[in-house]
Subunit: 274 residues, 2 copies
């Protein structure tokens, strides 16, 4: 099995970048988006065989893969609509959380394998999408047990120079709660704290603050969805961090400079290894 006609549902940063990368490999791409202005830009890009804002019309394009690239809670609704339409062709997605998606795909009897491209930007939308966004990046597949589909998706993503890794949706959601969802939440939170307590300080923000809060410029629709969807794993991570903040605060309160120095030395050494 390999894919010659791919339909992308959701022409934002993620869907737009996949569409451009696939089109560049000679694959025919079709687009679906509910936003007319996005469809206008999509038509203007001249990479699509067809675009539409009608669900029925979209699923009747001659697709051999349907790629869902919308925020996770909307993706679950989209999967339910596919279930109601008794859609039987291959489906995958590019959402940042995987447990709910896989559950919905199973409940709706889809021929499905989950996916997550590990590359983002703090900008969003089709106009910010890039043909090379995923070049060299990791792509995670979370299988539902359809091995022929899994292998075809592996080949597809390798063909646009992505490194494919496979894991369960539970492993995926735990890992990304730690290294993506928690940092995003804390970056929003820190920005919020400084805005409330000492907004004028922002004019002195140096490179460190800018880097630390770069991800706080991320898209509200996508991130409120992710936080809600990965609630359990995320809240566990937040609680681990809170306990750790108390430990670090106490080292400072108790003037325990030796311990503080050793901790920073350990952590900064590990960071430099990344």
């Amino acid at each position: 099995m390999y894919f010659k006609n791919i339909g992308i549902a959701g022409l934002g940063l993620i869907g737009g970048s996949f569409a451009k990368a696939f089109a560049c490999k000679g694959i025919k791409v079709y687009g679906f988006d509910v936003n007319k202005s996005v469809l206008f830009h999509a038509v203007e890009s001249r990479i699509f065989e067809g675009v539409t804002d009608e669900f029925e019309k979209f699923i009747n394009f001659p697709l051999d893969l349907l790629y869902i690239c919308i925020p996770v809670q909307s993706a679950v609704c989209f999967i339910e609509m596919l279930g109601q339409a008794e859609y039987k062709k291959a489906v995958t997605d590019g959402c940042s959380t995987k447990t709910t998606i896989l559950k919905a795909a199973k409940n709706n009897n889809l021929y499905f394998c989950g996916g997550h491209p590990i590359k983002g930007k703090e900008t969003s939308g089709f106009t910010n999408s890039e043909q090379d966004l995923y070049n060299g990046a990791k792509h995670i597949l979370t299988s539902m047990g359809y091995h022929e589909l899994d292998n075809a998706l592996e080949e597809l993503h390798k063909s646009i120079n992505m490194q494919v890794c496979k894991m369960t949706s539970y492993e995926h959601d735990t890992i990304f709660a730690n290294i993506s969802h928690l940092p995003h939440l804390i970056s929003f939170c820190l920005m919020d704290t400084v805005l409330n307590k000492n907004k004028e300080a922002l004019s002195f923000a140096g490179g460190g603050f800018r880097d630390f809060t770069r991800i706080a410029a991320s898209d509200a629709w996508m991130w409120s969805d992710i936080f809600m969807d990965n609630k359990k794993a995320l809240l566990e991570c937040v609680e681990n961090l809170e306990k750790n903040i108390t430990i670090w605060k106490n080292m400072i309160k108790d003037d325990n400079k030796k311990m503080l120095f050793d901790k920073i030395e350990e952590v900064s050494g590990e960071r430099r290894k990344l």
Copy 2:
């Protein structure tokens, strides 16, 4: 008053970068460091008129400005040594906290004005110092009331293309607790949490995590000093952040998606303005 001979105490990233920038403007620079290997690299750079690891020899170089560029708690000891030697020539510093430094300078009857260049890197040491590190960056002066000295320091830093701002040491330490010391502490803490709870997740770290934790690679000596020295303002910031984390956590726990979306929308909009 202007400076033709500047002595730099501490030839790390900060002192080394100032030495290179001043030397490039035709100012004679002299260096002091207790580390022999640093002195070797300093001699090798051929920008110094003289370097030494002896305090007495250093303060007897024909200096018209002595620039202290060592971590804050060591800087306070250095100021006490200058006090004991009844040093009367102009002195400034480049430390990241200002209240303790100014208090020490006053107690030791120095002819002093505090300073803080707003530019860092996560690397440290003379070999990472750069002539252009401070080009275009802000430099904050915290005056002790010696206006002729303050003006001369303003001119000096403008001559290497820095933007000079003046404020009190209290204003300075509050602003930087918020936008520098708090992000560094939280970045160390988050890195520590992930290392303890899910180290293998680090191999999937994308650009967001890398940016968010870049400052967690910072120097342990400098940062343990800063955290101890600005303890009061920093702990207040940490407590504000902790309260805010509870608010964000509760929005997620309570499924309050509308409020979460609005908060992210507000915060991300402000971040994009930076």
